[in-house]
Assembly symmetry: C2
Homo-oligomer: 439 residues x 2
Amino acid sequence: MNIILLSGGSGKRLWPLSNDIRSKQFIKIFKTHDGSYESMVQRVYRQIKAADPNANITIATSKTQVSTIHNQLGEDIGISVEPCRRDTFPAIVLATAYLTDIRGISPEESVVVCPVDPYVDDVYFESLKALAEQANTGESNLVLMGIEPTYPSEKYGYIIPKSNEILSSVATFKEKPDAATAQNYIARGALWNGGVFAYKLKYLLDKAHELIDFTDYEDLYAKYHTLDKISFDYAVAEKEDKIQVMRFAGQWKDLGTWNTLTEAMEENVVGNGLLNDRCTDVHIVNEMDVPILAMGLHDVIISASPEGILVSDKEQSSYIKPYVDGMEQQVMFAEKSWGSFRVIDVENESMTIKVTLNAGHSMNYHSHRNRDEVWVVISGQGGTVVDGMKQNVKTGDVITMSAGCRHTVTAYTELKLIEVQLGSDITVHDKQKFDLEYD
Amino acid sequence: MNIILLSGGSGKRLWPLSNDIRSKQFIKIFKTHDGSYESMVQRVYRQIKAADPNANITIATSKTQVSTIHNQLGEDIGISVEPCRRDTFPAIVLATAYLTDIRGISPEESVVVCPVDPYVDDVYFESLKALAEQANTGESNLVLMGIEPTYPSEKYGYIIPKSNEILSSVATFKEKPDAATAQNYIARGALWNGGVFAYKLKYLLDKAHELIDFTDYEDLYAKYHTLDKISFDYAVAEKEDKIQVMRFAGQWKDLGTWNTLTEAMEENVVGNGLLNDRCTDVHIVNEMDVPILAMGLHDVIISASPEGILVSDKEQSSYIKPYVDGMEQQVMFAEKSWGSFRVIDVENESMTIKVTLNAGHSMNYHSHRNRDEVWVVISGQGGTVVDGMKQNVKTGDVITMSAGCRHTVTAYTELKLIEVQLGSDITVHDKQKFDLEYD
């Protein structure tokens, strides 16, 4: 099975765990068998591999997520990188061209497209296989998953099938309705449109060439910024006559708010936290080092990260966005392909950061115009290059770098540094990258 | 007016703002006219000085608080330091002997003793003056303040006066009662015993010599650890016949729990915090750098410090102690006479701390057996001594100190350091102090 996972943008509705550079799908919140925690993207990846060990998975996403995806799924995962944000149609076309032109998949094969973040169990992936097989038959050009509604949601578009069979032609699509209209649709047998569908690669490429003037993946990538923002439903699905829908009745949850996310948590406390016996329906998700103590609360989510602390009535938590938009935020931590960093102290003319570099990884060779830096190695072994001079470093070593000085470090083992930045104008934009030429 | 303020022990009931080394009276929580915040001890000190600019104030406390008291009230404040914790009788005798033998106050003068932490307004201090004046008349040996009860509290002892006059003889004392008994006492005209009283210095010194074999302050201090733990009420007040009580009907609150403390706060948010419009009776006290967002909560206190985060129903918050006792706690920050420190990162074999040294102050000259240290100066100017070598330091300078190396730093201006400690056995107990002999 070929599968394209659409990994969407920054979600502030799960602040403080999601932020401008960490989307909700990367929050490690689901407990696994071995007691560790996995993110939505790790969970769905693991579930696909369990359903189909040979699944060929491609993640369609933006540049900002590439590093985090490698950090969580490893270096081998296929990623179709959108050079800039367009809507789902350009993104899906780009990923489809990536499959044929870069990964060499035959245009005769089918692919399943689905969001990266639904909370589902294993039966969902069996349905994905069935979708792909149905697309392979060529009976229709596009096979949608239609999710049997569990309540008259206003959040989803609806698909009206022609019959109540498992597999049916599509009569029509309906935009997100109000609750009364949704109730009416459901009475008529309507299904949720969860953005899950399958098609043969050549079908979509042909469609794309009708709408976009491009030759191949490289060409499409180069002119991606010129493309119109247009959704897949609008550009393709709603105009297609040879289109089928396959019913899905299993668990399918969109964990977009704290309220829905906590429903999917197996435990009430993730991280360092304690609920007294007078708490009911309280969840703690704590990514900080210090303990959280909750007493006498009901229906409350408490979440803490280096970015901030949320304490919210669960229902109220879905209204979080404008409050977070209004906050002045500095990115205080990030997981990257090479490791992670965390801001541990901010002063007027200094910033102190802990950097963890995974074994075998390096920083870019770079310099800063307006700040000096000091590294103190607190664990591990590595090698630094400072203005062309190479040196091995270990725990306790101190490296000082004046503004303008070019520097990098490679981790031989996992390497942790305290980095003290000193200057009157410290910003992430003050970074000049260089090629590293060894003498 | 001479006044002894009793500054009590560590209070965990205001965790995470109070801890083993910071008692509740040092939390800066009360907004002042200029928009800054003051602690209970700063507030009561300011109020006394406003009521009586010539007041001679002595704080009776333990060693652990001396540094914080100097940090908050300056170096000139009189402190009677208890070498170890006994009960109120030894502490008050020691402070009384301190007044006569060290401060040279005439034994004919009176003194008022009161706790450092009641939340009161200015009229209270006029009452203290009246207590002192009444003690000066010699009509009785001991003049107590009797606080008119506002509810049948189970937290206080009661004083039964002989009459309803402002000034009355004392009929008897009652231990902390249950609510029904308290109601009964109040019906009989009983008053709360807030631990506020006045006497002539010579009266208490004579009493002390009857009960304790000592010559003067120095002698008492030297044998303090041998004294029995006994309360002032038990040793003196309950046995005294010539004793009066003076009614006090003004505001008098004991801010010992989050519930009572938040009642005294003028604003709902101290520090970086935001309440949405669906919150009612929610208080935030945030000593961390990151924002707290509260949504849809009612009657909740949220408090965050580098030690932890409390989110509690206000009434439940009075049951906090066993939960905090059960936590493994490392002291993560402290205010000292010389400045402050804050732990900003903890790893298995390293700890990183930010140290702020006030201008003119120094660390002890010291070494560590089991850890190396690195200082990075992030602001200010100072002078270091490392194994006898003196050096001036400024922003950006790095000082490395191996285990065993003797070191100190003096701040010429306010000096901030990032201190990285490196070793497998990092503990505050690994510190050897030395005299600094300049060559």
